[in-house]
Amino acid sequence: MKLHFDVPGDDLSLAGKASSELKKALGRLGIDPVTIKRTAVAMYEAEINMVIHAHGGSADAEIGPAGIDIRLQDSGPGIPDLDMAMQEGYSTAPEAARELGFGAGMGLPNMKRNADDLRIESTVGVGTTVTIRITLPGSTTKAP
């Protein structure tokens, strides 16, 4: 099953909607609750990042027998120092995001903690692509 979501960047109140919709879809497919929660948290953080840093973008999810693959793409400013960004507590979130309760510097670490495989490709001035893989329990398929 493939799902596509447009993530608008101009309405912060919609941030998280795509993750909520994916969560519902996984529930309907009978995926186990722990996997659903891991998927939802990882994608929610990625979606929030996309909204607060990159003016939105798009998200594609593919649900297969071995796992869930999510790809989030934006044309935002990119991440200049990925190693710094992966550290807990490091944040470059703007004031508007802090007013929304984000900017704790936990976004990328939260994604890493919940994903079985997390890949971030980012070019300053071009954009960022985040790929999240969640392996379904019982599956032995490794991430590509």
């Binding site: 109140s13 993750s19 929660k37 929610y44 929304l100 309760g101 936990m106 670490p109 939260n110």
Partner: protein, 116 residues
């Protein structure tokens, strides 16, 4: 303790999720940053927060919290309450501050998510 006990101890008003009053609360947490809730809290936990934007309800849904206690009796936006009711998320509101609320619940036996 049950949600009803929590509401009584904190003299809290129930704004949403009235059907959850008899549910046993096993663990609690407190956070104002959404990523902290996402990182530290999980299913069936009660989280105390001072953060009132509707985004907190979406965070509660993603994290599958039992519910939220809003401290310091702020003017919670109607959209936050509406969203909580739409998704049947338990929502309590107390006039007590965060520190006192946490202390009262801890003294009454509720333990943190890190003490599981």
């Amino acid at each position: 303790m049950t949600v009803r006990d929590v509401a009584k101890l904190l003299e809290a008003e129930v704004l949403s999720g009235e059907d959850k009053l008899d549910i046993e609360v096993k663990h609690g947490g407190a956070a104002d940053m959404m990523s902290d809730i996402l990182a530290l809290c999980g299913p069936n936990q009660l989280v105390l927060t001072g953060y009132i934007h509707p985004q907190v309800i979406r965070t509660a849904l993603v994290t599958e919290l039992l519910g939220l206690v809003f401290v310091r009796c702020k003017n919670i936006p109607p959209e936050t309450i509406k969203m909580a009711r739409q998704h049947n998320i338990l929502m309590l509101q107390t006039r007590l501050f965060m520190f006192s609320s946490c202390g009262i619940l801890y003294a009454a036996g509720l333990r943190g998510v890190d003490e599981r």
